[in-house]
Amino acid sequence: MKKMLILLLVLFTMPATAGLKPYEGEGPTPPLTLTDIQGTMHDLAAYQGKVVLVQFWATYCAPCRKEMPSMNRLIEKMGNTPFVILAVNMGETQEEVEAFVEEVGPEFPILMDPDGESIGAWQVFAAPSNFVVGADGKIHYTLFGGVEWDDDELVAQLKELANE
């Protein structure tokens, strides 16, 4: 009984981690060509050979705000592994996103999609929606909802994909 209670206590006090889910969508990886907040153009196809975390987010999405610092730490933990994050903002204005960037300080490109064109192409219906694109340019994993991206399990999964 005591062991059971300890087990339950451990389970309920553990930080919530959600693993990456194998991608179940169909068809090729949708194109993603957008400018970032500084005006630099990014084309997902140009990142072939690297693992890319494509995240769709918004400043008003509470889990998105919460998890972003952990994405900075993820980059640090990935070390020399060929890995980039492209965070696509969902249809907000430059001013709104700039204010957020100043406050949170993401160390990865924030892409602007004012008309939401990529959102439809990538079949995004809620945020944060994440896609992990392998070095082969194909989507391998997805993840919905906020997580601590520097969680060891997630880092290991991403590193393993980079080594495939």
Partner: protein
């Protein structure tokens, strides 16, 4: 000093002994459903020919719900707010919503219909499943909308499970079952769900209902229930009764 103390005592007595309904200017009707449940319905009476039945499931105890109901009643729209969860002794959790029997929903709606007024249904968030469920049940039993004038879905959250990036959403069973009654989806512009409105609208229309969708500028989901509401959200909350009234007017003019 003595005067302040006396005032405090009077206030305390009022808070303890005066029923909430009396303060709210609402009456409570208790409806028995087949011996299974006793559902309290808070009613904000009005003289007009329109009745708004809100399946808030907690008698509209949320922030701004009561003031909105009072404001609507002043404008001639009678508002009914049943306590479905309390009636079936269900806990106030999201998972309880699907446990509310259709028979209970139908019973409340049938009682509202007996008023002879044009009845509209409204709910927000996951509770929108209930109004769709009871609307389709009503249509099935009456071979059509039969007095049901329209349904307002505020920030509908109708996904069956979590959305999966890259895959089309899967909705709860009640979506796409209504045949005649017009539906209006209202979604906050500053919510990630706004990107799913087009897909949801198409799914809702599959049964035959005319479905309209409007984005409310500058607000997040559940803005009228938020304790951290920002300025635009507070402004829209104060005008929520007007927004609902405009929605009912719009639905009333929709072709079937």
């Amino acid at each position: 000093m003595r005067l302040i103390k006396s005032l405090q005592q009077i206030l305390l007595i009022l808070l303890v002994f005066v029923p909430a309904g009396a303060i709210a200017g609402a009456e409570v009707l208790t409806l028995e459903i087949d011996g299974d449940a006793e559902i309290d319905i808070r009613i904000f009476r009005a003289e007009g020919d329109t009745l708004l039945l809100g399946f808030a499931c907690d008698e509209g105890q949320g922030i701004a719900e009561q003031s909105t109901a009072e404001s609507l009643a002043e404008d001639g729209v009678e508002v009914w707010m049943p306590d479905m969860l309390g009636g079936y002794m269900l806990p106030k959790t999201r998972s309880s919503i699907q446990s509310i029997p259709s028979e209970g929903l139908y019973g409340v709606m049938d009682k509202a219909m007996q008023s002879g007024k044009k009845v509209y249904l409204i709910a927000s968030g996951p509770e929108t499943e209930l109004v769709l469920r009871v609307a389709s049940e009503w249509e099935a039993r009456h071979d059509g909308a039969a007095g049901l004038a329209g349904v307002v879905l505020l920030f509908p959250r109708l996904n069956d499970g979590k959305p999966e990036p890259g895959k089309e959403p899967v909705y709860v069973e009640a979506v796409g079952k209504t045949r005649e009654v017009p539906l209006l989806v209202l979604e906050g512009e500053r919510t990630p769900n706004r990107w799913g409105v087009k897909h949801l609208t198409a799914a809702l229309a599959q049964g035959g209902s005319h479905v309209h969708a409007k984005l409310i500028p500058d607000v997040r989901g559940y803005f009228f229930k938020r304790e951290d509401a920002n300025m635009p959200e507070e402004v829209v909350t104060t005008q929520l009764a007007g927004l609902i009234k405009a929605s009912l007017f719009f639905l009333g003019r929709t072709d079937r």
